[in-house]
Structures are given as structure tokens and as C-alpha cells.
Symmetry: D2
Subunit: 463 residues, 4 copies
């Protein structure tokens, strides 16, 4: 199939047409990878059989060699005959080993011992080996920006309205914190993935014919693969372990979508506090050549809208009748796409955050719009604290007067006689804020630094 004969935007555009992502992800997320992981499980099964002296060492070696030489193509062609994917896989292996080794291929296993286990493992590997490192890279980039701009004044916004001053680094620190928390959650969930080797209905019927302690045997196979069993399984592993991981991934997607959304709004023509460096030759609009559109931030949010709703599929797939119905088979294949989509978004966002231009003039300009109004708040709070009987009304009048006289509110207050009894109780810092509302940023800069230090350390622990 030609790349552009694909119908999945992942395949023709976001992953298949992106050589960097393609190389990273095809080892885990392609169908070829799925088969490779199944072969790994089949091979490990026979190795443990040999270790437990249930089969000869030679058989294990033969099977390992066979598993190394089978492609997805081979298995799919065989499946056309068997109409059963694992039977096809097993046939492919058996064909490549001697008659005396044949019985040990897939010995005592049911299809889903192989599928549940291999799928758990490749999801875990994709997350641990690709997703988490790339998320940590983005996290470190955010830490760098937050630190660099920790003292850069910005007007804080709630309801889209100017509120109280913060710093740009503090605003970015929000995402350092939230993304950091999500990376931790992803790590915990990925480390908690489970496999199984308990047979067709979970009660080890076949394996207990031949193996004294089939639970211990299961544990040995899974340990070799880096997994554990859950306390119970049916034909399949309990769905909640993968679901927890998908939740962690989806919630991380929400955090980066929020960051992208914030950046995109800060890039609005009227706000213009940040911009994305454009590469030369890039066209902003087919008819408006000078336009600088936040297309990368928009793309991140759009990918989130495409993939976040798929959690519903995950929740729906919790329900499987009795010891299993197969209505989660096709759907669980699609769940894995979400990993690729998240990674595409993370890489896109890392790219654009790496060349983010913070427009300090724009930040100042916007701040200045609300400078006077900002003074009013600490003035009101301080007067009230020092027992002014009607601080709110006093400040309101003062605002009108400073307007009329054309002087800053802080100055007008300082000159007002009726306020002197209260003003003299003000500390030096209080007075400084009244004349410099730029200082009214609370502990924004300090907090930005604290958040960065905390999560930098955590990331060190996780990598």
C-alpha cells in the first residue's frame, strides 16, 4: 500500500509522514511490532518450559530461532487460511521447527495468553521507552522557560479579564507542575501493567495438566518479560490496568492541550505576548501572506479533541461477558493509536515551545492597561486591614479623583489627608506596591522557581 492510499491521518500524515516519529514508534505501535511482541512471548514461553525441564533445551533454541525469522506478512497470509490470528502465528512457528519441538510451541497456552501479555508489554514499552522520555524533554523545556521568565511581569487573567499581576514564568510553572504530575501518573500506571498465562478461562485448566504450580509458572514467564500477573484473570487480563494507563495518558493530553490553548490565546493579535518563530518559506495564509497563525498550538488542541473521547471506548471495553466475549478485540486495537497521537502532539508542542518568542513589550503593554486598577486592590485590602471603616468606598472615590487630577492612584492616596492615619501603619513594602503595582506579584517568581526545582528533581528520579 502506498502511503497516501492510507486513510488514517496518523499513517499518512502525523506518524507515517514524519520520519522521526515513524522510526521511534514503529518498533512498538505498528502491526509488525504487534507480531514481533507476540513472537517474543511465544519464545519466552518455551524458554521457561526448558528452564522448568518440561521441554528440552534444543526445542527452546529452535523456537527462538524460528520466532526471529517470522514477519507480519507471513502471519497475515497464513491467517487468510485459518481465519484466526494466533493459530496463524503458531502455524508459522511450527512450520520452522523440527517435529519433536512442534508440541512445545504455544504449549498449554490459549491465544489470549499470548495476546493479552504481548499487548500489555508493548504498550508498556512504548510508554516507558518513547512517551515518557519525550514528555520529560517537554517538561525540561518548560522548566527552562519558567526559570528564564520567572521575574517577567505579566498580567494574570481570570475569565479572560485582567486580574492580578503574576510573572510569565509563574504562568509556565503551572504546566511544569501539571505535566510533572501527569508524567508521574503515567510512570506508575505503566509499571503496573499486567500479563497472564492462565489459559482459556483463567483457571489454568490446560497448564495444570502438566505443571504442578501453574501460577508459579505464569509468574516465571511474565517476570522474564518484565510483567506481573494480576490477582485474577479470565481469558484476558483485567482491563483496569491498561485503562488506568490510558487515563493517565489522556489526562496528560489534556494538560498539553491546555498549554497549547493558553499560548494560542496569548498569540492573539490584540494580546501578542508570545509568538512562534516562523521558518523562512513558511506561508501563514494562502491569501494573507504576512499572517502568523498559531497552527501548531491549534493542531495540539485538535488532536486532543480527536483522541480524548476515545476514553469512552476504554470504559466500554471494561465490560466483557463471563470469561470473555470478543467485543473488545477490534476496539482495543484502536486504543493504541492514542499513544501515537499523544506523542505527535508532544513533539509538535516541544518544537514550537523550543522556539517560543516571549514579547516583553507586549507583556508590558497589556499590563499597563490595568496598572491603575491593580493599585486599587492592595490599597483597599490594606485600608480594610488597618480598620478603615469603609475602605471599599474610599478607594472608589480616590479612583475617581486620581482620574480627574491625572495622577496615579497610589500617589493620590499618599497625598490624601484622610487616609494618613491608616497609611502610616503601612510597611515599606506596602507603600512600594502602591507606587509600583508591578511589585504586586505576590510570590510568583519564588513559586516559579520552587515548582521548577521540585519537578526537576522528580524528573531526575523518573528518567
Amino acid at each position: 500500500m502506498n502511503l497516501f492510499d492510507s486513510i488514517s491521518p496518523l499513517d499518512y500524515r502525523y506518524y507515517g509522514n514524519n520520519p522521526k516519529l515513524f522510526e521511534k514508534l514503529k518498533l512498538y505501535l505498528s502491526e509488525d511490532a504487534a507480531i514481533k511482541y507476540q513472537l517474543l512471548v511465544e519464545k519466552t514461553l518455551v524458554e521457561v518450559l526448558a528452564e522448568k525441564k518440561i521441554c528440552p533445551k534444543d526445542a527452546a533454541r529452535e523456537v527462538a530461532r524460528a520466532c526471529g525469522s517470522i514477519s507480519a506478512e507471513d502471519v497475515y497470509r497464513e491467517e487468510e487460511k485459518t481465519k484466526h490470528n494466533i493459530r496463524a502465528l503458531v502455524n508459522c512457528i511450527r512450520r520452522k521447527v523440527s517435529d519433536k519441538s512442534k508440541p512445545y510451541v504455544h504449549f498449554t497456552a490459549t491465544s489470549n495468553d499470548i495476546i493479552s501479555t504481548s499487548e500489555a508489554l508493548r504498550l508498556k514499552d512504548a510508554v516507558i521507552k518513547v512517551v515518557i522520555p519525550d514528555l520529560i524533554r517537554l517538561e525540561k523545556m518548560l522548566i527552562k522557560i519558567a526559570r528564564k521568565e520567572k521575574a517577567t511581569l505579566q498580567i494574570g487573567r481570570t475569565h479572560g479579564q485582567h486580574a492580578e499581576p503574576i510573572t510569565f514564568g509563574f504562568a509556565i510553572a503551572e504546566y511544569v507542575s501539571r505535566l510533572g504530575s501527569r508524567i508521574s501518573a503515567i510512570k506508575i500506571a505503566a509499571d503496573n501493567m499486567r500479563g497472564k498465562f492462565s489459559g482459556a478461562v483463567g483457571s489454568y485448566n490446560a497448564s495444570s495438566l502438566f505443571i504442578r504450580d501453574p501460577e508459579q509458572f505464569e509468574a516465571a514467564v511474565l517476570k522474564k518479560l518484565g510483567l506481573k500477573a494480576s490477582t485474577h484473570s479470565t481469558q484476558i487480563v483485567e482491563p483496569e490496568f491498561a485503562l488506568d494507563l490510558y487515563h493517565a495518558l489522556t489526562s496528560a493530553f489534556g494538560v498539553i492541550a491546555n498549554l497549547a490553548d493558553d499560548m494560542r490565546h496569548l498569540q492573539r493579535s490584540e494580546i501578542a505576548e508570545v509568538a512562534e518563530e516562523f521558518t523562512s518559506g513558511q506561508v501563514g495564509s494562502s491569501t494573507m501572506p504576512h499572517k502568523r497563525n498559531p497552527i501548531n498550538f491549534e493542531n495540539v488542541k485538535s488532536m486532543w479533541k480527536a483522541f480524548m473521547p476515545r476514553m469512552i471506548t476504554g470504559y466500554a471495553d471494561q465490560i466483557s461477558e463471563h470469561q470473555r466475549d470478543l467485543t473488545n478485540s477490534a476496539s482495543s486495537r484502536f486504543m493504541l493509536e492514542g499513544v501515537a497521537a499523544l506523542l505527535a502532539a508532544v513533539n509538535r508542542l516541544s518544537g514550537v515551545m523550543g522556539r517560543l518568542v516571549v514579547d516583553h513589550k507586549g507583556l508590558e503593554k497589556n499590563f499597563s492597561l490595568s496598572r491603575e486598577r491593580i493599585t486599587a486592590e492592595p490599597l483597599y485590602l490594606l485600608l480594610a486591614y488597618y480598620n478603615h471603616p469603609d475602605a471599599h468606598e474610599a478607594v472608589r472615590k480616590m479612583t475617581l479623583e486620581s482620574d480627574k487630577r491625572g495622577i496615579p492612584l497610589g500617589k493620590a492616596a499618599m497625598q490624601d489627608k484622610s487616609l494618613q492615619p491608616y497609611l502610616k501603619k503601612f510597611t515599606k513594602e506596602h507603600k512600594a506596591i502602591l507606587s509600583n503595582p508591578e511589585k504586586y506579584t505576590g510570590i510568583a517568581a519564588k513559586k516559579a522557581e520552587e515548582v521548577c526545582s521540585y519537578w526537576e528533581k522528580e524528573m531526575g528520579r523518573l528518567s
Copy 2:
């Protein structure tokens, strides 16, 4: 890219590995098709410019020729430079026409005049040319089964419990009716797809510089393509037209998922009223070779679980800021996958319904489990109707007695003296039901036929 390097199950498995679907759908759903439709719109634009004498006929011919020789590959390679897909497309066309024709390429258009219009058109075409015909094929198959089995007795089930008798054809007629209604809804929504040619913000700024009546011009371009404009557009077509179509498609998916679910339950070991003919060589289970698993019905439900939740993306994409933000761009690409998934499910279901085995013995066996209980209901209703003062209690006692005497309830009732005053008012048909509860199917057979006739006619109208 190799087929098994894909990560979308559609690409490597359900569409890309299914030659029949692949050939049908790549004309509409592949990325190559997307570019082809864009080229069609660019070509049509210049043709109408020529018709309106805004550009020379030669230019139109040149552009048409150029549009016929450009591939997705070409455009993607150009996009690597421009970082803008439509600018890349336009560059590809311009490169292939003479200098004097160049200005007319994409003339007065904004990117989304091309994208919104071409995407509307290929979605419409995919639905009208592939989805509806395949749905009608399934509908006709259901009509055939419903008619053939319209008199085949089946126990009706509510809450999974035996309720009152129906016929198997009547049960299938449910799906004839519901699927028919969905096909109609899909047709209406597909015919109502809209395009646009109103420029970057929807107010025809550029086109009104050169064209006296730009709305009339827009109408001419769209008419040539088989579309209409909506009463208003911004940079994009109002999203509700495509959303209505996705709703119709998703609700059709729900109907076939329900049918698949019913069949899969009727195939349960204990129920066994239907079965799927197995092809020779097919393996039911890797360790249980004789098992007949309803994997196709399960697959249909599983695909539905994977795709139904994506309606959320459609609803989320209704929101686009001001004259448009781009956060619906990537997400709307993924929406189209749903068409392929539905079609894969429809074809899968048609395949298995076409070789459905209705097990008449199984149907009879299950009916017989509740035969006596069924007699009780009409007996009770009739006694009550003919003013028996305590029909419910009388029937209860009668049931106990017939059990004790080991004779059918109907017979016991006929012999009971105290019931004679009421029984003599019973019609012949009433009495027949008491001795033959098999007859207590209401108008099931007649209704099945009516439903089939009605929807057969409707399908004729739609094809």
C-alpha cells in the same frame, strides 16, 4: 511505507488488508483522494471563471490539464517547504501552467474555500456511492431473511426472559425497519452537504473585488460540483451539515451493532437458534478446535464501540472561534475514518448474515420451555375480558392443577366446569390459541411482511 508498518487498524487490517474495501474506498477516503478532490475544486473554480469570462478559456484548459497530473506525493513534498497544504497544492498547479494562466489558479479563493468544499464533496460521494449501496444490500438481505422466516415461531424475549411468542422473521423485521429508517436519514443528510466560496472570513472580500455577484458565482461553482452553499459561512462551512450526516451514520452503526448483538446472543450455547456457517479450515479457538465463535458479530459491536464515541469530536468541533480557529483541522481528518469503519462493519455483517443458519429445532426447543406459561396469558386476559371476577387467581390454580394432572393448561381449562360460562363466549380463534399457544403470535407474520414491503419500496426509491 509497508502495510504492516501502519499503526491504524483500518490501514493494516480492516481496509488496507481487505482488497474489496480498499478498492471501493481509496477513491474517497485515502489522502490521495483528498488531494484529488481538492484538485477537482481548483479546476472547477477556473472553469467557472472562464464561463463567466473572468479568465480565458485557455487558462481553464491548462489548469484542468495540470490538475489531472498532480499526485498526493507531489503536494506533500511541496508542503515540506511551504508548511501550508493548500499553498503547496497551488504551487504544484501553478508550476504546470503558463505564466499568463498562473493568476487564475486559486483566484480569489482562500484555502478553506477549497478544503471545506472538497471535503464536503468527498464525504458526500463516499456516502452516496459506497455506503448507501452497501447498506441497501444489507437491508435487502435482511428483507429476504425476514420474509423467509416470517412464519417461523420464536419465543420473544424481554429482559432476557421468555415473554410472548413472535416469529423469527418478525424479529429480523425490526432491523429492516430501523436500518431502513437510518438509510433514509443518511440519504437526506448526504444530499444536504454544503460547500462554500466566500473567502477568508466568509464575506467575499477578495471575490467581490472582481466579481459583481460573488454569491451567484459561488452558487455556480458549487452547482457544477453538485453542492449548494449554506445561508452563511465564515472561513468554513457551517459544521452542522456534516455533523448531521455523521449522526445519521453513527446511528446506523448503532442499529447494526444491535443486530450483531442479538445474533451473538442467539448463538449462545444454551440458546443456539442461529449459527454462522464456518468455512472449512477456519479455526474457532487455538485450544478448542470445535468451538464456533460469533467472531464476526463480535467484531461489528467492537468496531461500534471504537467509533461511536467519536461523535464527541464532531460535537466539540462545532465550536470554532470567531471567523474560525484551526482546532478542528486535524480532528475533522479523523472523523472520516468513521465512514471506513462503518463500511467495514456493514460488509462484515452482510457476509455473515448471508450465510446465517437458522436452527429451527433450536427455536422449537426454546419455545417449548415456556409453552405452558404462554397459554396462561391469553387465558387470563380472555377470562378477565369476559368478566371473570378473579381471572388471575383462577389461572394460577389451573396451572397448579394441570401440573399435577400432567396435562396441558389449555386442556385443563377446557375441562374445568367453573370456567364454562366464560369459555363458551370464547371465539374459535381464542380456543385454538389455548390448545396451540404456537398460534399466540399476534400479527407477527403479517407485520414482518408489511415491514418488508414498505422498506423494499423505500429502498427502490433511494437507489
Copy 3:
């Protein structure tokens, strides 16, 4: 139960604490209304029995009287005994009629003949009698604003970036068109609601014992109620009719959420093109008393986020096993809440749009930010059209020069000698645009008026 003992925000806040909405909606959406509609169906059933001479006229009168005197409270208390809601309802009615009328109560009906039919009817009534009129009221309000501001210049925005000029009325006309289209869709779907009277499994088993043509009888009952039957039913009406209506309502919710979102962004401190009139005494923020927060617009979007996902419940409820399982019973009760939520949002939005302040100075100020860049676009398009060999580059240079000389781009172009060959081909209108980019609004004003006229007429047709 005390109002504030409620846990549903609808009950304690958005509906129950809003006397206007409460009075409107309790007739349709309260549980008391649910019971009233069930009683209406039971009464209508007996009336038609009387018309068809199956029961005496007296019985119909008795039942009608009984149905008029039963409360939800009565039925719920009875249900505690029967554990079955319709059996409880029937017991309540039977208790109030003479012995000879008792048999005709609920005669031949199954519970869901009553529930499916009454629920279809009250959903239809709520939509037709409350939702559509309130939506039309909002639509007319939007038409009024669009017309009033049809010539009010506004900078159009795509990607949050200034694009080409439009008018504020044109921007509002987008919502006139989209909301109009949704109102039409809602009306069509509401008029298409269906009821049933086909018994426990849909094959008229019980009714065909007593009634020669049970389909015709069903049609008579439903007609009296203002409904039709679908071509097939099981224990329940086909779910797709209500689902189509919920889709139409949900998609209307999306449109008003988009409008709210646009307004909220236009109210941002830096943009400030619109504002909501504050009532005196209203507090913007507990610590920032002067803040004007777009809380009503925010509320509309928030309600949409709470209710839009519930379409998933609707789609999931399409699946009901065989002739019905009851897993759609509780869930369908919750679906109806969406009607109240939409109505609360519509009323909230109507309130705030009714006192919307359009800040013409703010609009001008924002426009002026991009005034020069706007001139560049038509200049470039026109030069290209009149065969300037490199229009894009010429305009780029001109922009730099006009900057340097401190004169408007249009004026600089007019004075440039090298451009004279092209400029002399420009029409008067073209030249006017170059010196007044405010005129470069395409047909925005005309389009706004057209959209208003079209939908005003349509609304007339619908009310």
C-alpha cells in the same frame, strides 16, 4: 425534600431555583409531569376502546375522571408495594373506578405501550411548546442585533489573528443562520416522534385477541395524542426517533456554546468589543470589585460541556437485546435532563444578549491595529489581477516604504510611479478601498441582511 437537599444542580439551582423556568418546565420535565402523561395515555386508551365500542362509554368517563385525580405521590407510594411503576399506576386507577370498568383499565396494553408513548409525547411537547419558542425568541434577538450592527465595521479573525474586515452584524448573522438551521432540525425531529401500542413484544399478541385490526387501533390511540407509530416496534418504540431529536438539540447547544464562546473572547480585557450590562449590586469578584466577568457566557459553555457528552448515553441506548432489555430505562430518564439544561442555557444567553453592549470605539481601535496590513491584501490581489509580474514583492516593498515615510500604504501606492500602469485600470471602488480599507468588507452588510430576512421568514413559518 427541601430544595437545597437536592443534589442535582438542575433542581437546586438552574431550574428549581429559577421560578420562570420552573413554571415552564415542570409541566413537562418533572416526575409529576411524567405520571400525568402516563395517565393521559391510559385515559386515551380507554376513550378509543369506547369509540371502537370495545368498552362502554361510562367506563371511559370513569377512567378519565380517575386519571384526573392521581398524583405522582400516589403512584410512588403504591410502587413501594408492587416494585413496578406501571402496575402501581394501574392499581391507582383501578382503585378509583367501579368493578365493571376495572377490566378496561390498561386493557391489552403492556407497560411500555404507556411509557414509550407518554415519554415520546412529553419530550415532543416540551420541545414544541417550550424549547422551540424560546429558541425562536433568541433567534429574533440575534436577528435584531445583526441588523442593527450590519454596517458596524469589525476586524474578522481567523486563528485568533486579524484577518479581513467584516461587520459585527455579519459576525452575528453566522449565529442567526446556524441557530435557524438547528431550530428547523429540532422541529422536524420533534414532529417525527413516535408512540406504540403493540404489546409486550411488538407483535400485538394481546390486542389481537380482542381487536380485529390492532394496527389500526394503535393508530387511532396515537392520533388522538398527536403521534404516529413507526413501521415496527418491539416492547419499545424504535430508539432512533428520540435520538434524532436529542442530536438536533445537542447540535443546537453546540451553536449557542460557540456564540457564548465568541462573546466571551470579544469581552477579553484587550479586545473589549462587547460587554454585558451589569445590574447594580452585582459583584464581579470577591476581591476585585470592579471586574466585569462574562459569567453568563461562561455558564452557557459550561452547561454545554456538562450535557453534550450525554449523547453517548443516547447512542449506547440504541442497543437493546431481542425484544428489549431494560438497560435503557434509568439512562433514558436522565436524557430528558438535557432539555432543561439547554433551556436554562438559552434563557441565560437570551438574557445577556438582550443587554449586550457593543463597544464601537473598541471595534474601531482593534480594526486600526491592522488597518495598514489590510490595505496590502486588496492591493496585492488587484495588481496580480492586472498582470503585475511580481505583485507580492512590490507590495512588500511598498509596505516598508510607507512605514518609513509615515504615510498610509494606500496613499504611497497611489503616488508610486511604477504602479501607475496597473493603478489606472483600477475601478473607482478599487481605489476607494485602497484609501479606505474600512470599505474592504466584501458584501458583509448585505449578507447580514439576507441571512436575517431568510431566517426571519423561516421562523415565521415555524412558530
Copy 4:
């Protein structure tokens, strides 16, 4: 408002009409509870102010007394004037304290310091104090059933088809394990809820005017309430902590929905392995009085369908612009309903599982349907293991022969001469299985006991 004037099914039916749930939940989930928790936070704030000697002890006492005497009704009436809920609350408190205490009410707090914190706390309390205990009660009930029936033979089912034997206790142990895992996950997430006291934009602007270490002050207030702060906050607490808890709750809902679904299928007329004890007087169907419908199991699944999709709202609410927009305000109110719905379902399920009737005859009857086929599997596996060159074919022929001779497959195999070389290698246990396929349950009984022991211990740790 009358109970039946409500429109939320929770209020009028599942919670408001259920005295047991009502009493439990109104302390946490009612709007009255919401206000009570806000008052608790306001009171705690002033207490810590007093501890830190920022305000006099008397003020703290006055405020505590005032907070104890304010009702939701009071606050809502005040909100009608202020149009701001927390300002209304603050006014209510201030009105009840002396002038000199007034300034300390809500001192340095922003509305969302109160709301974010109180909402986190009451969600946590509802979960820890009501949800987890009730889930543990259900878990213990399942443990009891699993143990009691750990040796009760049941045919295992995959794809709805008979597969290999298990025990009924083993089947229930699946839910012991999955529910246990969810209870742990809920506990971890509930213990991890966070509050905040960082002001209007999260940078402690107001509080740092008066308090040297505002982070330490925040920690003190939150500690008194049993909460911690997150590493960063804006106007609101990072949404991911509550989202993780909602995920854990939703995934627990999925587990109980799966259990309910399994039970409901096992109650099918043809399967009849379990039943729910009916209370006397309960009516199964309005026209079919003897029917035993699994309405409670159906209700559990239906509630899950109504509430599971609301996770989408949670994920959508992760996105809040800049230091906060208010579009998560109404929606987050509705999220809390999910706790009530889950609890209603858990209580419903506990009720019905507590009176579950396991029909041992039904279990045996179904097992016997597949008895012979079951023998074939271990026979085939053992022959293959002992190197029979074509075990599969040998068993196939043996099956046909045993059918023809009318003797069990195991017996036929024992008598077959050609199999003797292999059969003599069979252990005693192997031979026992061939004559008693009832023994082919693997380690089902042992596993059931292990699962019960493990989770019993874990539950002890959690309660």
C-alpha cells in the same frame, strides 16, 4: 419544591426517594452540604488567622459561631442580590459578627480558595465516608459468595460459547479481584485530593501583603481540613487530582456494571444459573405476572450508561484559560452527581447479590450440554504431550465412535487399543479427568480462595 417537581432522576427517584441513601449522602452531596463545607473553610481560615496571631481569638470564635448558623437558603437569597455566590456567603457571615471581626471574614481569600478547597474536601469525604465503606460491604458480600461456591462446577464461557469448566466461585472471584483493585485505586485518589489558599491568580498576591510565608499559611489551613496543596495552583486547584478520583470511581462503576451484566445473562430463561429472590407482592410484568426480570441488574448497567460518559466533561474541564476561566463551574457541579449514581448502583447491587439464588441444578444442566466436548480437550492435549503423531485427528475419530457406540468419550478412549501406548503414560489425575470432566477445572477452586484471602486482607487494611 415538592419532591416530584424535581427533574433529576437522582432527586425524585434514586436518592431523594430512597431514605437510606438520602440520609447518607445529603451530608456531602446536597447543595446544603456544599454551603456547609464552604462555611467550614471560612471558619477554618479565621481560626488559623487567630493561631498565627493575625486576628484576635474572639474574632475566630465569632466567625465560627456565625458559620454554624447559616443555611443554604440564606446564602441563595443573598445571592439574588449580589449575583455572586461567595460574596453572598461572606455577606451572610459578616452580618452575624461584630464590626471589629468583619475584616477577618474571608481575609485575603479569593472565592475559589473557598470553593476549590471545600469542593475537594466534600468529594473526598463523600468518597471516604460513604462510597468506600459501601464498596467494601459489596466486596465482602462477593467474597462470601465466591468462597461458598468455590467448588461449584460451572461451564466457563467465552464468546457466549461453552469453553472449559470453572467454578461459580471462581467466576465471582473475578469481581472480588477487579472490585478490590478499584477500591484501592479510589482510596489512593481520594487521599490525594488537594486544596488551595493562593489567591485570585495563584501567586498569593493578597495574602503576601499580610503574611510572611503564605505557602506555610496555606499549608496550615489545609492541614486543619485534612488536605494538602498541590505544587502549583492558579485561581483553582489543578484539575487532575479530582479527575483521577473520578476516573477511579468511573472504572469501579464499569466493574460493577460488568458483574450486573454477567448476572443478568446467567438469569436468561435458557441459562437460569442464578436468580434474584423476589419479594412477595412484587410484579414482574404488568401483563405477564409470573415473569422474573433481572431489573436490578439492568438498572445497574443503565446507571452506568448514564454516568460513564460524563468522564468526557471531566476531561474537557481540564482546559481552563490562563489563570482560570469559569467554563468549568457549572459542569463541575454536575460531576458530583456521579458519586450519588455510583452509590445508588452499589447499594442496588449489594441488595440483589445479598439475596442471589445460585441454581445448582441449572449449573449442572448447562455443564452436561458440553460434558463430552470437554473431555476431548484434555485428551487431545495429553496425547499430543506424550507424542501422539496426530492427536487432533485421533480425538476427532474417537468422538465420532463414542457417539456411534453411545458411550462417553473418556471410556471409549480407555478401551481403544491404538491409544494404549500413550494412555499408560497418563497419571492417575489425568485418567480421572477423562472419566470425570467435572474435574477439569484447573485450579479454579484454589484460585477463588486465594483471591478472596488476598482481597479480604486488603479490605481490612483499607477500612
